[in-house]
């Protein structure tokens, strides 16, 4: 089963969490990104996520495999929505099971940061004012 997936429909985090249940694990950390009703001071109606699907799936999978190497965790999963989303919708879910909470938190944070910076997914925001636009944050040097 892949650890990273794109979903073009709303998804429920509960079965993703259940898939990580593990009697060896004492800690579980999760992160969710939700569509906010505002961004950079502008009121937001909703958004569309577009992905370069083949590369996004490969790069997402690499990130989760790297997380399992870098941190003392048992397993990790990530699902990212694509397509049309309304405010309040779940955009991305990350879950990590581990022996202890240090590693669970650190890996969960690392995964969402890497997904946001490396996976070819783009956000097209629709504003209440009527306009819309792609978000292309200027890359910062590492």
């Amino acid at each position: 089963m892949p650890r990273f997936a794109l979903s073009d429909v709303p998804f429920d985090p509960a079965p993703l969490r259940s898939a990580l249940l593990d009697e060896r694990a004492g800690a579980f950390a999760a992160f969710e990104g939700w569509v906010r009703n505002h961004n950079d001071g502008r009121a937001v109606n909703g958004l569309r996520y577009e992905a370069y699907v083949a590369l996004a799936e490969k790069e997402g999978e690499r990130i989760l495999a790297e997380a399992c190497e870098r941190f003392a965790i048992h397993d990790a999963r990530c699902v990212h929505r694509i397509g049309e989303l309304a405010t309040g919708d779940l955009a991305v879910w990350v879950g990590v099971s581990a022996g202890h909470r240090d590693a669970a938190f650190a890996a969960c944070r690392w995964i969402i940061d890497e997904v946001k910076s490396r996976v070819p997914i783009w956000k097209h925001e629709r504003y209440v004012a009527g306009d819309a636009g792609w978000l292309h944050p200027t890359p910062t040097t590492d």
Partner: protein
């Protein structure tokens, strides 16, 4: 020597190109040159320094030579999450 490529565009590059993909026959020696050619044609505002490039679904280097029949994608700054 010229090569035939499929070029894919995403997000603002697709809006600027007006198409999601197109076929390009190019004599450019490397992928940097391919982007320069398309930037001139479509008026892309994103400088090459802000992009990544992928070939056949994997990240590639700007100095790689274009391969006949390959799919080339220019990756604008990502904004998932």
């Amino acid at each position: 020597m010229s090569r035939r490529l499929t070029v894919r565009y995403f997000a603002s590059l697709r809006d600027a190109a007006g198409v999601a993909e197109e076929t390009l026959i190019t004599g450019a020696p490397d992928l940097r040159g391919v982007y320069a050619e398309l930037q001139a044609r479509h008026g892309f505002r994103l400088p090459v320094a802000h992009l990544r490039v992928a070939v056949d679904g994997d990240f590639a280097r700007w100095e790689d030579a274009p391969r006949e029949g390959s799919e080339v994608a220019f990756i604008p700054p990502v904004s998932g999450g």
